[in-house]
């Protein structure tokens, strides 16, 4: 594993093989260097957070993995296949949900399948299953403007799950959701990672959120963005949702990340 040297002391467990590999990716926006020579591995079936201060290019990296933005140099591989653009092996969850306001929950959740040409009855059966999984049963016929922010993002999540991509890319999915809903969401995420056996890549600027939900946390530092360290929590990952926030390692990691990030916060 060629992650940063400092992360080796946390690699006591066996890390699964990578589902996504980012190798030497650089990205410039005119004069601004967003990412410089960034390399990172994303283990299969686990949740990796990209954590860093605003402007550190974490969303840019996520969109490069999604194929929505082209890198200036370097490669992204998903299951060994080079990324040339968006593909059915990845699904995206948007910060502002990006739901169709004129379509009800059922059609929104099924929309990814609709674009893939899945027949109506089939895609609606699949959509109904995922609507149930994210806890929105009974809201199939509701429209996005009738739902709260938290419920809308559940729709966005269900839409991404419904296309059954191996890799889920989540761009600050809970940042437009209120605090209590966010906590509930984070607990649900843990169960989702367990049950879905998918690779999750999760962009956030909340240290607590990253440590709470992640199998692996990549701390990015800005201007230009690079991976400062990769942390793999060991002791609390298998505890139940309510006990994580009291675990000493959880608190230590939060302190440690804050210590390295605080210099970069204006």
């Amino acid at each position: 594993m060629h992650q940063t040297n400092r992360s080796f002391d946390h690699l006591q467990e066996i890390v699964p093989p990578s589902a996504v590999s980012v190798r030497n990716v650089s990205k410039r926006y005119n004069d601004v260097e967003a990412l410089r020579d960034l390399s990172l591995e994303f283990p299969r079936g686990q949740l990796t957070s990209l954590l860093g201060p605003s402007g550190c290019g974490k969303t840019t990296l996520l969109k490069i993995i999604a194929g929505l933005i082209k890198a200036n140099s370097g490669d992204v591989e998903v299951n060994g296949v080079k990324v040339e653009g968006p593909g059915p092996d990845r699904a995206f969850v948007f910060q502002d949900f990006a739901l169709l306001p004129w379509a009800n929950v059922l059609r929104n959740v099924a929309f990814g399948l609709e674009l893939r040409g899945v027949a109506k009855s089939e895609r609606e059966a699949i959509a109904e299953k995922y609507i149930r999984n994210v806890g929105l049963t009974g809201f199939e016929r509701s429209y996005p403007h009738e739902l709260s922010g938290g419920m809308r993002q559940r729709v966005g999540l269900a839409r991404a799950l419904a296309v059954d991509a191996q890799v889920l890319l989540l761009d600050e999915p809970f940042s437009a959701v209120d605090e209590q809903n966010r906590r509930k969401f984070q607990e649900d995420m843990l169960a989702l990672v367990q049950n879905e056996k998918k690779t999750f890549i999760f962009v956030t600027h909340s240290i607590e959120e990253a440590v709470y939900v992640s199998d692996q946390i990549a701390v990015l530092l800005p201007r230009p963005s690079r991976v400062s360290e990769v942390i793999r929590p060991t002791s609390f990952r298998n505890k139940d949702a309510v006990n994580i926030r009291r675990d000493p390692e959880y608190l230590d990691i939060i302190d440690r990340i804050w210590a390295s990030l605080r210099n970069y916060v204006e």
Binding site: P86, A98, P101
Partner: protein, 250 residues
């Protein structure tokens, strides 16, 4: 509106204006304004006469032709220039020029180019209606959320699919607003066309009645025209309200 605790239906004020019209008409102030009751009697008299039916069909044909052309050409052009920077640079100045140009002055040119028949009238109507439709559609497309476009791409929407399943619907509130204003302008266009190009349809009736000082006939036809334009515009406003719930949250 509520008056003395009574809820009045919409446009009740029209009754007051009609009363005023009746009073002015009966006072014999000017031959130009006959009493409105007489206008309506004339109206019921001429509806159904062959001359009126012929005028209605001719005007309706030109109007529907012009509006259909404006919508069928205007909306795709608006979406294209809203999505493509280069096309926008090329076409937008012309749209703005024609939107504010005195189009009536162009009518003689159209007559030279397309003759004195229905074609010229339909084109005149189109020229009156299309620009605002293009401009509004463009505005609608340009305000589409970036993440909506990325959503379409990331789920693998083909360009045509994105066009019909996302961009069109996302821009629909603005498009309908543009079509409503376009339709109102098309009414102007069709009458101007009929007056200047070839004397047919309602234009011919206006010409006939006003030159023979048949004022109640003149007003009757005008009321029919106003009524039709107003109904179409209200219908489109109703459609606009139907999609207004998502206009603010795209």
């Amino acid at each position: 509106m509520t008056v003395f605790g009574l809820r009045l239906p919409g446009m009740s004020s029209l009754i007051l204006w009609a009363l005023l019209w009746e009073v002015v008409g009966r006072s014999g102030l000017t031959f130009f304004i006959p009493p409105i009751s007489e206008v309506f009697l004339t109206l019921f008299g001429i509806i159904g006469t062959p001359a009126f039916t012929k005028a209605l069909t001719e005007t309706g044909y030109a109007f529907i032709g012009g509006v259909a052309a404006s919508i069928v050409i205007g909306i795709p052009v608006g979406i294209l220039i809203g999505k493509n920077r280069l096309l926008d640079e090329m076409i937008l100045p012309w749209v703005n020029i024609f939107l504010s140009a005195p189009l009536t002055a162009l009518v003689p040119v159209l007559m030279v180019l397309f003759g004195f028949g229905m074609t010229s009238i339909v084109i005149t109507t189109t020229l009156f209606a299309i620009w605002i439709i293009i401009l509004n559609t463009r505005a609608g497309v340009m305000q589409i959320n970036r993440s909506m476009v990325e959503m379409a791409r990331s789920f693998g929407a083909k360009p045509l699919e994105a066009f019909f399943k996302i961009y069109f619907w996302a821009a629909l509130p603005e498009i309908l607003g543009g079509v409503r204003i376009g339709v109102i302008r098309a009414v102007k266009g069709v009458i101007i066309g009929q007056l200047l190009i070839s004397i047919v349809g309602f234009g011919a009736l206006f010409e006939l009645y006003s030159s023979n000082f048949l004022m109640s006939h003149f007003w009757a036809v005008l009321i029919v025209l106003f009524g039709m334009a107003f109904s179409i515009s209200e219908f489109l406003a109703y459609l606009e309200r139907r999609v207004a719930y998502y206009a603010a949250k795209r």
